[in-house]
Symmetry: C2
Subunit: 200 residues, 2 copies
Amino acid sequence: MQVLPPALERLIDSLARLPGIGRKTATRLALFILRKPPGLARDLATALSQLHQSIQLCSCCFSFSESDPCAICADPRRQADTLCVVEQSGDLLAIEKTGAYRGHYHILHGVISPMDGIGPEEIKVRELQARIASGTIKEVLIATSSTVPGEATASYLIDLLQHAPVRLTRLARGIPMGMDIKYADRHTLARAIESRSQAK
Amino acid sequence: MQVLPPALERLIDSLARLPGIGRKTATRLALFILRKPPGLARDLATALSQLHQSIQLCSCCFSFSESDPCAICADPRRQADTLCVVEQSGDLLAIEKTGAYRGHYHILHGVISPMDGIGPEEIKVRELQARIASGTIKEVLIATSSTVPGEATASYLIDLLQHAPVRLTRLARGIPMGMDIKYADRHTLARAIESRSQAK
């Protein structure tokens, strides 16, 4: 027998399509929304309806933006000769939060992953080459994740761009801040030793 | 500077109002929704907009329902003389999933919690008394949670209903199924010993 009202069931079904949200969490969230005054449901519904209408990809760096070019590409105070290549918009946000980077970005919108049928043609690699070919770029900082597909994508880009007239750099690999050496995994520790820096 | 497009920021703000979802998870969910075709956002928005419109409280048991009385209260195959008193609709769902209960329900919509200013007047206690006073109820199974406010609510109800012409029962407390005795906490184990049942 049908225990849940169909309207609640539909919300649970939709919520359960989100990553990391199973049916149990979806049910908990849906019941929470139902118990609250309708304002929360309305705000969420409005934000969701407007999302794809108002957001597009910046035609320059391919980040999500309400304007084209995006705020970063349009900002004259940022260094237009440096590109940071990231997998997804979430990576851009993480780098922006550090405040340590003042250049432009290039969002690949994915990683090369032959197992999933994703080659260089499926991500914004050609667009990266076009930006470099335009001649204004001096440094390309490859900031893909330190995962197997992230490393594969970085290797592919380094091969592809090795003769381009730009400085190719990568994020440093090593011990995360605040980590006790004895808890670091051996690959990280090995990398930290290989890439050791001059202390004095 | 504003890194996130305002439309994305609004969705993140709304998602972060849900329980157990912080800003980091909200950002991850919002970016996921943005990367997917607009169908997901549309389905979610529709489900959210229709939620409060189509769902009301059953005037009999106070569960959320699209009809009044709800499907359970209206079902002639269920035992109308037995009431299971639960805190919230989620508890009703959990009990329904067991298939072990065939009576009606009464949703309190909360627990007595003086620290939060919630007394018997704030939850559906008076309505429970009215249902019992109608004379058709033979058993009231108190199924509040085994938490401090859940136990306090159960004690209050037992006091309140001790002279009512109904059989008052509670869920059994003991070792959960599949649990190794040595990992059971001592309160649960003590309760399981006190409430031991005849094996043969």
